[in-house]
Amino acid sequence: MGNKIEVSNLNFYYGKAQALYDISLAVPEREVVAFIGPSGCGKSTFLRTLNRMNDTIPSARVDGTVTIDGRNIYAPDTDVVSLRRRVGMVFQKSNPFPKSIFENVAYGIRINRIHQNKADLAERVEKALRDAALWDEVKDRLNESAYGISGGQQQRLCIARALAVQPDIILMDEPASALDPIATQKIEELVVELKNNYSIVIVTHNMQQAARVSDKTAFFMLGKLIEYNSTQKMFTSPDEKLTEDYITGRFG
């Protein structure tokens, strides 16, 4: 399969401070790529360059290119709203809207006018909830507040919300770090399931999680991409000593 995302010579600055140095990396279609590295290494910043979430920071500046399906997302004619629809994002802390479970998922479909009628909307909400492995747990309480479900369920609701607007790519920033082991396992199983249809990039501090769910792993340190290899290679015999030292807990 080809590459979904291709990043070439990307540099990123917060004002005068450079946060990312000359990053080049490709995310293959329908694979899971994990970003690992110590706190402050730039992995989340890099993740956010992939759907231009950093645009909201006034002093932020990017050079280099990020192409999705061959088109540079930093080209002046890029429609950022439609970009973020195609590149969904799930955050560390689940952030459902103060609305019902149904409305949380329906929201994006409505504002993007994806649905044809009310029945179609209901179908799309159901499909997104099923794809997020949440349907069976909430189907009888769709009109209840999203705040009434557990943290793990809220996180899957956020994934359903991202899926509802039909993205191609899902970015996940520490999606399971606030969850208990069972809820974490559900998210991980979901990630593996979702890669049949989506390209997924996941930032995680949990090394075993990266090892379990991803096909490829990128290790970042001090804003640089140190090594990018198959996950199997990274966790059994990485090429770089820095990677070895990090994944075996010698620093970080």
Binding site: M207, Q208, A211, F235, T236, S237, P238, T243, E244, I247, T248, G249, R250, F251
Partner: protein, 220 residues
């Protein structure tokens, strides 16, 4: 910086496998000595002490499982635990072969001595040297030395074929030597197997160092 919790555990694991390696070397050397010097007491000692080796194997198995379960080793740490877990039963089997040699010695020592077989002592010497080098190479994680030790297995195999031919001749020429010759043949076979096992250890040394499995590879 080597002050991780896992370093302490890996260090203990290394100590244990080196003790097992030392005990295995001693068992092999004593078994051959009991044969060469017709010392049945020494042969019996090899047999008696085998249970210590078996206990060491179980202890290393337990420690390896514990490290994997509790410390989730990765990269070199993981290869180290895997290599130890795979080398341990090989050492235990080498010690079993040493016991088998000691058992043959107990019988041979009651039979009239037959002529000395130069090739058999040569085989034993090569096997002991190979085992020592393999354990040193494990400690030093030296894959070059390990590859050289693997090459030496041919010397043992050639020795085995010569000893086999000689003992067969001796049985035909003088049927009264049949019991002794048959037991010496077993000894030669045990030494030949030990050569193969040492080769397996060296292949794991290469895995530990280079993260490649060379076992069953064509050039090996």
């Amino acid at each position: 910086m080597e002050n991780r919790i896992i370093d302490h555990q890996l260090g203990r694991l290394k100590d244990r496998i080196l003790l097992l390696g030392g005990a295995t070397e001693t068992a092999l050397n004593r078994a051959m000595e009991s044969l060469a010097k017709r010392n049945s007491e020494l042969a019996q000692k090899v047999l008696d002490e085998d249970k210590i080796i078996n206990e060491m194997e179980l202890e290393i198995d337990r420690m390896s499982v514990e490290i994997i379960a509790l410390h989730q080793p990765a990269a070199h740490d993981l290869r180290f635990v895997i290599a130890v877990a795979k080398i341990t039963p090989i050492l235990e089997r080498i010690a079993d072969h040493a016991c088998n040699i000691a058992e043959s010695a107990l019988i041979l020592n009651t039979e009239p001595p037959i002529k000395e077989h130069v090739d058999l002592s040569r085989m034993a010497q090569v096997a002991a040297e190979m085992l020592r080098s393999a354990l040193d190479a494990f400690t030093a994680e030296d894959s070059e030395v390990s590859r050289r030790v693997i090459e030496r297995d041919k010397e043992i195999d050639e020795g085995y074929h010569r000893v086999f031919g000689e003992l067969l001749e001796s049985m035909i020429d003088d049927p009264t030597t049949t019991t002794s010759a048959a037991h010496l043949l077993f000894v030669a076979k045990h030494l030949e197997r030990i050569g193969d096992y040492v080769k397996d250890i060296c292949e794991l040394n290469v895995y530990l160092r280079e993260a490649v499995f060379i076992k069953h590879s064509p050039k090996n």
